[in-house]
Amino acid sequence: MKYTKLLKGNHALAEGGIAAGCRYFFGYPITPQSEFLEHMAEIMPEANGEFVQAESEVAAINMVIGAASCGAKVMTGTSGPGFDLFHEGIGNLHAHDFPVVIVDIMRGGPGNGSLHPSQQDYDVCIKSRGDMKNIVLAPWNHQDMYDLPNLAFELAFKYRNPVVIMADNVIGQSYGNVVMDDEFKPTEFDTSSWAMSGAKGRERHLSIAHFPDPNVANEMQHYKQGKYAEMAKNEQRSESYYCDDDPEVVVVAYGIMARNSYAAVKALREQGYKVGLFRPVTLFPYPMDALNEATKNAKHVLVAEMSAGQMCADIKGRGFDKDVVLKPGFCPSSVPGTGEIEAWIKELL
């Protein structure tokens, strides 16, 4: 049965994780993701799953590796400083080709940083050492927080790759309506060809995370880049709003910046301006095809993100050949409001 519930974004993530079949969670407290951890602690035992509050993010991500090695659906979550500590484990997840879902509720950097909203984790969420890439999903509302964990597991198991749900603290810590479905049946994935379970009646499963043989190392690198090319072909996801009539200005934004930009674009449309919004859902693989389509006749492209241009540089690096205006050009300590975004757009009209 479908029903609507008012949920905090971080709670919606936990509910969505359980609905997606996640039965193992290993995490460590950090603001602004702690409510995700806390809610998992509450609802995981009810789902007959295992919840462990680890001694550090380093331990948490390595516990995740252990559960993932058994083919289990496993999640963890953190914020920027914890994500820095996750990187060792994420590298090993790539070396092993283990599927996991990781949540990053962003806060401002650098170092221990601030508790201000931020979108500065774009690069660190996508990239892992050794040319590895995480699939990254960017929720923009509470329904996404509930729905994306299932998509994340689908992609994680399909490609045997870490998937990061990268949200900002505004969505994580605010409340919103979520439509839930208590009859939803998540996919069960067959992991019997690789997962650990004891070598009973079969050859042993061995998963090592180092590559001493140069031929194996080369093969692995080609396999990985081939996998990313497949993702780019099959998994680009995005939404375009008011982009069907060749708008003069197209705003490109994700997460909370997409929400405020949507309100600005809608207000300007009501005033008769031809403006549109392009919202990537997958930040990796980046939805370049849809971006090119949405902006093909635009006079101006405005990238609105709360960082010094990480997404902007990414799309440029992927060959986006239109001139781009970046706003606000740095990460301010509060989210730019609708009026501010309207003003940026009007400067271009």
Binding site: Y24, E55, I65, G66, A67, G89, S207, I208
Partner: protein, 312 residues
């Protein structure tokens, strides 16, 4: 009588030290890997099996009449150990293999490797194996055990892995009373990276990063077992053995077997430290390296069962 696998033998001479009848000697012939392998020199063998027990390569089969007294455990793969000649890892791998055979655990086992020389255990066992990052094996094992509480899970680590970079992960496994077993080898240095000072290096020892000898500024040698015994469940099983003599090897095997049984009985955390030799980085021949364990290392790291709870 004994049968030496000439290609496995690395000529470390440890068997020649302990043979009570002076049966074994070097052949003077070099095998494909370039080692002067050993062979029986006379007919005095009493089939006591000591040579096989101390052999770091699992290269010696002992027969009494037609019956095999000691041989290479079934759970071991056919590949030769890649440890240096005389390295204690080989003996410890072999006794773990014997226990897995004796307890019938091969099909139920999931092992977790660390980083360091001890990583090579994954090559040697026909069981499921996951590689952890340096120091993180106990966290990985925690994740596995939460998914499969009924499988047999163990980590095999070195002293740098467990005592420095992975101290937190290992100690928290004890604090949470995780129901898996840690076997860790204390050879007092970082072997794989070239013999740097380790948490367990004794004061005064010259290493590649303490060229004038270890001082308190590098840290006092850590007694991991005693430290871990102060945390976690009162019923944990924690013991320290050594592989310097046939008697200590037999005792160490008993400790590891008890630790494994502790896990199978779902009694919680178990850990066995094994004092071993690193002849290469100690710059000693394999026999003298074992003497150093006896004379210098054991006095600082006393052997025995350190924590055996009432229910353990």
């Amino acid at each position: 009588m004994i049968i030496v696998d000439q290609e496995r033998c690395k000529g470390c001479s440890i068997c020649t030290k302990f043979c009570p009848k002076n049966v074994i000697g070097h052949s003077g012939v070099f095998n494909k890997a370039g080692y002067d392998y050993v062979e029986p020199q006379n007919e005095d063998c009493i089939s006591c099996g000591i040579c096989s027990q101390v052999c770091p390569e699992g290269a010696i089969t002992v027969k009494k009449e037609d019956k095999v007294v000691y041989s290479r455990p079934q759970v071991l793969t056919d590949s030769a150990f890649t440890y240096c000649p005389g390295c204690s890892h080989g003996v410890i791998n072999r006794i773990i293999g014997e226990i897995i055979d004796e307890m019938g655990l091969a099909e139920e086992t999931i092992g977790v490797t660390p980083i360091g020389c001890s990583i090579f255990i994954y090559k040697n066992f026909k069981v499921d194996y996951v590689e952890g990052a340096h120091g993180r094996a106990p966290a990985v094992a925690t994740g596995i055990k939460r998914v499969y509480p009924d499988k047999f899970v163990f980590t095999y680590q070195g002293d740098g892995d467990i005592g420095a970079i992975g101290l937190g992960e290992a100690m928290y496994a004890a604090i949470r009373d995780e129901n898996f077993t840690i076997v860790f080898v204390n050879n007092g240095n970082y072997g794989m990276t070239g013999g740097q000072v380790a948490p367990t290096t004794l004061l005064g020892t010259v290493t590649t990063t303490t060229p004038k000898g270890k001082t308190v500024h590098e840290g006092y040698p850590v007694r991991i077992c005693e430290t871990f015994a102060t945390v976690g469940s009162d019923n944990a099983y924690i013991a320290r053995g050594a592989v310097d003599t046939p008697a200590n090897i037999r005792k160490t095997k008993q400790y590891i077997k008890k630790a494994f049984q502790h896990q199978l009985d779902k009694k919680g955390f178990s850990m066995v430290e094994v004092l071993g030799a690193c002849p290469t980085n100690w710059k000693l021949d394999p026999v003298k390296a074992l003497d150093k364990i006896t004379d210098t290392v054991i006095p600082y790291f006393p052997l025995g069962e350190i924590k055996v709870g009432k229910e353990a």
